[in-house]
Amino acid sequence: MGDLLFWHRLQFGFTATYHYLFPQLTMGLALIILVLKGLARARNDARLDTAARFWIRIFGLSFAVGVVTGIPMEFQFGTNWARFSARAGGVIGQTLGMEGLFAFFLESTFLGLLVFGERRLGPRRHFLAALALFLGSWLSGYFIIATNAFMQHPVGYLAAPDGTLQLADFWAFLLNPWALVQYAHTMVGAVVTGAFAVAAVGAFWTLRGLHPEQAALHLKTGIWCGLVASVLVAFPTGDQQGKRVARHQQPTLAAMEGRWRSGPYADLNLIGQPNVEARTLDNPVPLPGVLSFIAYGSFSSNVRGLDEFPRDQWPTNLELLYYSFHIMAGLGTLFIAIMGLSALLLASGRLARARPLLWVLMLAFPFPFIANSAGWMVAELGRQPWLVYGILRTAEGTSLLVHPGQTVFTSLGFSGLYFVLGLLFLFLVGREVHAGPAGH
């Protein structure tokens, strides 16, 4: 494989997807920890403090891996995407620089105080440390989303005669409407991950008959947070995100649904396999008119098919984009169903006896990670063949002088390192879950 672009994309895609497994958990948990600590203070309830302490330990582990896997992301803008950085750095460097000054310093300062400083700080200041961590991690998320939003839907820039993109309107760039919608969708998605993790630990302890008081508290926290977040991630945030794609990235919408021909009453396909060469969708199970309704608000709206667009504007990895979207949307629907049913049984006091559902809750925690990763794949594969939508093609953004002999070498290095990192993380989290809410 001598394809330079392929290896740059694989390397960035792999390291980014792996990295985001951790921030989604920490950002989700940051909110849940804040809620637990806030309620503990409001109700003067020590059990909530114990639960918060348990999740702060998990948060610390996840945060550490998130930090070290995030460093390569910052470097790769320059190492792998030099021509993109040279052309767009004057714009996206703003948000990446702000992330360092405003978010990372906040997080790194208060992380140690949150994880190790409860006795030294006392309850009020420990709560403030949790608040600082929440603000830092969610701010960090915003700066990354704003950077990505510029690549999805560039605003606030001007193109200089030498081809570089320069910042023209700081606030238009920072408050890109695309960023606001994408941020809401992404952050609620992170809360889904955190809530499912909390519920899974509660379900595990309940099934085992361990720590009954904490197990019940975990189930309650995980399920209510999970239900609210699962609904919000679909509606209104996911819905709005879809409408943005429908308006600004029409070939992407067509590719997400495997739609070749234009027309009204467009189908939403529950399942099916896109055949790009034959320009068909094999074995479809359609919901007639639903895509038109979701995209434009009326069943009779015309949804343009890929046939209308020149082939060099189609997303380059159409099959993966199609499946990523269906995995994300399918799992998102399942999450609402699982959390809705769990909440019903919880409210009526029958959850503890519903062992099959507890099994489902326990085993479901990996799926939000998959759904969030798939969601990012929809965003990033859907943006193709553009690096900055409509302005700069991905093929024009690579580092020209870096050859595949180098990218394959470092990609293999990352694979090995990240594999070990994943094992260590699971081992340490497993130890914490095993040790229980009181810790070692």
Binding site: F77, Q94, G100, L101, L401, T410
Partner: protein, 348 residues
Amino acid sequence: MEMLWFWLVSVMVAIYAVMDGFDFGAGVLHLFVARNDGERRTVLAAIGPWWDGNEVWLLAAGGSMFLAFPRLLASGFSGFYLALFMVVWCLILRGIAIEFRSHVPDGMWAGFWDGVFALASTLLPILLGAALGNVVRGVPLDSGGYFQIPLFTHFRVANPVGVLDWYTVLMGVLVLATLTAHGALYLAWKTEGEVHRRCRRAAPRLWLAVAGLALVATGATAAVNPALYANLSHAPLEWAGVALFLGGLATVFIGLARDRHRAAFLGSSAFIIGILAATAAGTWPVMLRSTLDPAASLTAYNACAGPGGLRAGLGWWFIGFPLAILYFACLGRIHRGKVRAAEDGPGY
């Protein structure tokens, strides 16, 4: 505006070197100055609250460089591709070693991570020093502003150059020695007992080595990049840098002789800042020198972003930077005085 950003980025790089420098030094030294689990944890407790934030200065400096000098970042990062990934891997291993070490109370587990921590802490200053050496020596930038060099060639300072040659290796060793000596002073200041005693004993010897190496490196730099000294006549800031690092060095030895370890640590911080300031003032406005054609060098003028971005960046930089300093001041207040591992609990 270009000059302002040049100095803002330089300030952040200097803060990074001083701050992450002491925890690198602690990592290099800890196998020698801390011999049992309690002592190792004392070392970790001394740097625990700091190291993560210290590392953020690298990312923050990189971010500011990205927005102000995108061409420099693009060219430098892609040109040093392999070397930078080695830096990244060391940063990953080092962070994980510090964070995971104390999670399992087991001698083999802790011992393994202590080794990883020491190894990564030793390699990083060498790599970063070599990077500094490359900036001073120059790289084969073509007229398009890009380059790509192998990790090593013939170890002579002549084209085709590699990342490692005798000069850049010398700079790597200098930086390793400096940060080790810097870390020794930090640990002498912040710890008590055996760790304190061993650091106090090692520091004068380490600093003599640093002084000797600095002298050799100054001569070598004159041979490799004479232009750096040609600026001396009209660069008052370069004189200030020189004065700072000489004064810092003197403060280190005086502080050591009088057992004033905080003063000595501040002296070594001044030494590091002085060297970097003198280098920056000497190279201005060149940021990455071309060994092929001086006209192809990347300067603060030809590598900078458009005026709109530079102006907007200044607006938030002057809010964010004081905030960061404020956080560090708070942290310093909370963790003032000597550390005791047992009180700070596991992890630190």
